[in-house]
């Protein structure tokens, strides 16, 4: 990822204070959701940029639904990007980020197997129904049930059930 070489303090001057506040409060969360899906920080940050651009174009910065919109858009945009990956980019992504599991990093065979597992996990996410995959991405990115309900426009009381179904579908697909 190439970042523009400019002074951040100067660059942010043109967006409204409301939008800047929203960006600062939600950027890390949006990247986190996308990263949970893509397992590639550069790609997740690209998705986050696109998500904020879409919001900036289409919604007022002080919209009450702003945070929920960004969370849902992050999940959907990341899933869309995931489905669009070709095999080569998937391999590159697998090599780019170390696993969070207890992998013996100095054992190439274990590392390769773990990478393959992660690729399969991402393939499963790409195959799941959109809402199920989004649910998993949001939940395992740390959103509360209330935040998930707001993002996916479902009742908070239904999130637990929907999440269990999504997890069941995930397990079935992973076998």
């Amino acid at each position: 990822m190439t970042l523009p070489a400019r002074d951040p303090g100067h660059a942010v001057a043109a967006v409204s204070p409301a939008f800047e506040g929203l960006f600062r409060s939600e950027y890390a969360r949006v990247v986190g959701i996308a990263h949970r899906v893509l397992a590639d920080q550069a790609e997740a940050e690209d998705v986050a940029q696109d998500v904020f651009i879409s919001f900036y174009r289409g919604h007022p910065a002080d919209a009450a639904y702003g945070r929920a919109w960004l969370h849902a858009a992050a999940a959907h945009a990341a899933l869309n990007a995931l489905r669009g990956r070709d095999r080569r980019s998937r391999r590159e992504a697998a090599q780019a980020v170390p696993l969070e599991t207890t992998v013996a990093a100095d054992d190439p065979a274990v590392t390769v197997a773990a990478s393959e597992t992660r690729e399969e996990v991402r393939a499963v996410l790409a195959r799941l129904p959109e809402r199920s995959a989004a649910l998993l991405a949001l939940r395992y990115a740390g959103l509360s049930y209330a935040e998930i309900a707001a993002a996916l426009d479902v009742r908070a009381s239904s999130v637990g059930t929907l999440l269990r179904r999504a997890e069941d579908a995930f397990r079935r697909e992973l076998r």
Binding site: R24, Q49, I53, G58, H59, P60, V121, Y140, D153
Partner: protein
């Protein structure tokens, strides 16, 4: 596999972000691409977004009819029934030539320039209270998205448009008079076209609108539908004798039709089964997409504020319209069950 194991399976290292740099990057992109925030985009005040939305969502039928009758498309055949959709870019000069009546999808005014348009069964939108009721009235199962973005909230309103039929009779006299009022000299209408008739059917159609108000608008931007889903029986057109080639040649000979538009119309492979969708060339983008397993069309305005997906499947036309990105619009379209 328990939750912890799923967590571990889905796990990635938590990203460490530099929000200042990210904001600078965002700002640079906004400046480079000239992106305008929505707050600075003026929105027209309208009296009833519900009515406007209903009309917009019925566009699959109306657009097809308008295109066929307005001279934009070469898809007028003895039998016309779309199996696919294709974008036809229309420039501002084309729109100027066709006039506001055609651009505004007013069939009767638009077609008055070429002959006589008459509804034999006019469209009569009716609001119902449920999808089941809409399906029963329309005579087909109205599909609904199973997943929508969080910006789409609440329950939809349902509208049903009856099966509508119309007849259009070409008239060389009307064409001459209309052209004379605009100080134009039209090419002569071939004798076999003068007096010939076209018969069109459209609908029934079901329209579902999220975010439409119960009453009339109270202010600008306060009642814009967040999502419109339209579904209609594919329109059909038949004639009492003229062929598509005769008609296409005549229509493309009209002064004011740009070479680009004429080429786009000629490029339609099978006009008897292709629904041309007009896309303002300067204002919108469009490209084919795969939706519900078939080829459809994505249309988005250049600002990224609005997007639509249109497709045909199993004799039905579908469209999804809203303030969505392409991926969002496709996700909604693909979730329709």
């Amino acid at each position: 596999m328990n939750d912890t194991q799923i967590e571990r399976t889905l796990g990635t290292t938590e990203p460490r972000v530099n929000t200042d740099e990210a904001l600078a990057r965002f700002q640079a992109r906004v400046q480079t691409e000239g992106i305008v925030p929505v707050a600075s985009v003026p929105r027209r005040r309208v009296t009833s977004r519900w009515v406007q939305g209903l009309a917009a969502a019925a566009g699959v039928v109306i657009v097809a009819s308008t295109l066929a009758f307005s001279g934009l498309a070469g898809s007028i055949l003895q039998i016309f029934e779309p199996k696919s959709v294709v974008a036809v870019p229309i420039s501002q000069s084309d729109l100027n030539y066709l006039g506001q009546a055609c651009a505004g999808l007013n069939l009767q005014e638009c077609m008055g320039a070429y002959g006589t348009f008459e509804w034999t069964a006019p469209p009569q939108p009716k609001e119902v209270t449920s999808r089941a009721q809409a399906s029963a009235l329309a005579g087909f199962t109205a599909l609904a998205p199973s997943s929508v973005p969080s910006s789409v909230t609440g329950d939809p309103r349902y509208g049903v448009i009856n099966r509508s039929t119309a007849t259009f009779t070409f008239s060389a006299d009307s064409t001459r008079q209309s052209a004379a009022r605009q100080n134009r000299t039209p090419p002569p209408m071939p004798a076999n076209i003068d007096g010939s008739k076209l018969f069109i059917t459209g609908g029934p159609a079901v329209v579902q609108i999220w975010g439409a108000p119960a009453g009339t608008a109270s202010g600008p931007g306060s009642d814009i539908p967040t999502l419109i889903v339209g579904q209609a029986k594919a329109p059909t057109v038949s004639s009492d004798g003229i062929t598509v080639d005769e008609l296409r040649s005549y229509l493309l000979s009209q002064p004011g039709i740009s070479p680009q538009l004429a080429a786009a119309i000629r490029a339609i492979g099978d006009p008897s089964s292709t629904l041309p969708v007009p896309v303002p060339a300067e204002l919108a983008i469009s490209h084919p997409v795969t939706v519900q397993g078939v080829q459809g069309l994505f249309i988005g305005d250049n600002t990224g504020i609005a997007g639509a997906v249109i497709w045909q499947k199993d004799g039905m036309m579908f469209e999804v319209i809203g303030s969505f990105t392409e991926s969002q619009a496709l996700a909604i379209a693909n979730s329709m069950r």
